[in-house]
Subunit: 332 residues, 2 copies
């Protein structure tokens, strides 16, 4: 049921969810701004926006999942710096009449992702908008000098990725094709979850940083877009081996039904929020063992950074081709 709700009533409800008594929060939601005890480390800041009609439709993504994902994509950015997440601000644009149940479910999902990483929601803004717009800002902390940038990759480093690729793009295809009745299959449920509830690799990133990763970034727009960005920032090239890509097994299972090429999707699909890592070969095996043991998460070597600045793909046929960035351009 949609009812008219005032901003004041909504803010009061959100304040109850948010909890101002979190660690280091001196002033939380309800004043002009939040006031927080500064940490001992350096401050890490990131912002990400989710827009209805672009990143999701309310018809096929629950409010809880939108909230969870809005937090997750920011947690993932902090993870990629090897930072520890701390606080969160959320600005929410809502079409009228506002559905209070949708808003409360959204905040429940946001909280769920935040709580998992000890993040407190300390502020934000509610506004009218023609479509739902979610803008989340998250703060994190890192010991001085310990942030892992995307600019540190060296020629000779292994190109490693955590987890599996392509599932999220499969999930988006499932969501869009939900009328076709594939949504009930186990593979379909798995890829839908990968899209709606990506896991930010926060603790995993800290293991990788300690293991000696030279550079990290999260794979948000697809490896085919994000690997060239890391190369550009680091002033190196790369040779990617497509037959070594850790393609999601569930995506493989559903590829025919969805009419997708699993390798192409793993390369260009985006939204998996796994980590792309430049790591010296001698550190790779130990890092992979620790990730598998502590988190059950694979770390797969998919090629090598090179001093030569070209970015190429080596296919199963051993032919080397330039990598075509075909990932997510937000304006394409």
């Amino acid at each position: 049921v949609q009812v008219r709700v005032t901003e004041e009533e909504l803010l009061a409800a959100i304040r109850k969810v948010a909890g101002a008594d979190a660690p280091r929060v001196l002033v939380g939601i309800g004043d002009d701004a939040a006031v927080l005890e500064a940490g001992a480390g350096q401050l890490v800041l990131t912002s990400d926006m989710l827009v209805e009609g672009v990143h999701f439709e309310r018809a096929w993504m629950s409010a809880r999942d939108v909230g969870f994902k809005a937090a997750s994509v920011n947690l993932s950015d902090l993870a990629a710096m090897a930072a520890s997440p701390r606080h969160c601000l959320v600005s929410l644009g809502l079409p009228t009449p506002v559905d209070p149940a949708w808003v409360m479910e959204f905040f429940a999902g946001l909280q769920e992702a935040c709580e998992e990483h000890g993040v407190s929601v300390v502020g934000g803004d509610l506004d009218r908008a023609s479509a739902v717009v979610v803008s989340v800002t998250m703060t994190g902390e890192v010991s001085p000098g310990k942030a892992v940038l995307r600019s540190g990759a060296l020629g000779g480093d292994a190109i490693a990725v955590t987890g599996f690729l392509g599932a999220a793009a499969g999930g988006l295809a499932v969501a869009r094709a939900s009328k076709r009745g594939v949504a009930g299959a186990p593979w379909a449920r798995a890829v839908a979850r990968a899209f709606a509830r990506p896991t930010a690799r926060v603790a995993e990133a800290q293991v990788l940083a300690s293991a000696g990763a030279h550079a990290m970034m999260d794979i948000s727009d697809g490896l085919a877009s994000d690997l060239p960005r890391m190369c550009e920032a680091s002033g190196v090239g790369a040779q990617l081996h497509t037959d070594e890509l850790p393609v999601s097994e569930e995506l493989r299972r559903g590829a025919d039904t969805l009419g997708l090429d699993p390798i192409a999707v793993a390369l260009s699909g985006g939204e998996d929020y796994e980590l792309l890592v430049a790591i010296p070969s001698e550190a790779l095996v130990a890092a992979a063992a620790e990730l598998r043991e502590r988190f059950g998460l694979p770390l797969t070597s998919v090629g090598r950074f090179t001093r030569a600045r070209s970015v190429t793909v080596l296919g199963a046929d051993d032919a080397e081709r330039p990598l075509e960035p075909r990932g997510w351009d937000h304006f394409a």
Copy 2:
């Protein structure tokens, strides 16, 4: 001319404007997140969203003004805490095809407001959206324990406001009625500017904090909405004297043309971003003198906070009525 532009090209252009070599910025735009040297004080955080079709129309507000205002409203929130602004993140949702000139003008306006207060743009996000959506997050810093909250007003404190009220709402009316040909009059230009380019009272707020202000907030939704909020947060009431309101002279001049009641607009118009201050009577005169001398800005006493928790208005007829909050409810 609208041309197709890739996100990569736009980001490169923005990076040039933003300047990563700002004080305390270790990593600026271009990585997964920004990394900043932590300050010595407490961290202050605020977020505000501007939505096309709700807060502005591109038909009557320039890109430069949208950028300036998006920064100003956040600067104003920091001012209201008596904080010193530091860093800024901006997420921008844009309809396609993207007009690169609009985006660059937007960032120029944002920069203009930021530079005035020594704020560096350190990150953000570009996304597709059906209407322009701007979400700005700003960080500030305050000496431990020195933030001025909205919850500190005491019965007996003077209710003081900086500057003049009602001009911004007059400016919005002028913008919406621009076809009626009033835009050229000097009063119309003045109120239009008040709406499009509000001045954040950053240094002024620090004077007020030093002078002994008990509570501050910025008047974003109109005094009739914001005064009851301060009363509620402080557990006090208030008696407001409408004939003491510092009504904008330009608004008075245009009121007939616009069909507006100046007193009602000064009370309920919103968007003036002046400061509402609870200050002991004995500190008021000195604070007002210092604001006038240093910034040419009036500080006007418009009534008194009371121990009794009712919020009332005393009109020119000496009749006392309950204050009806008629300010900006974002969902009304």
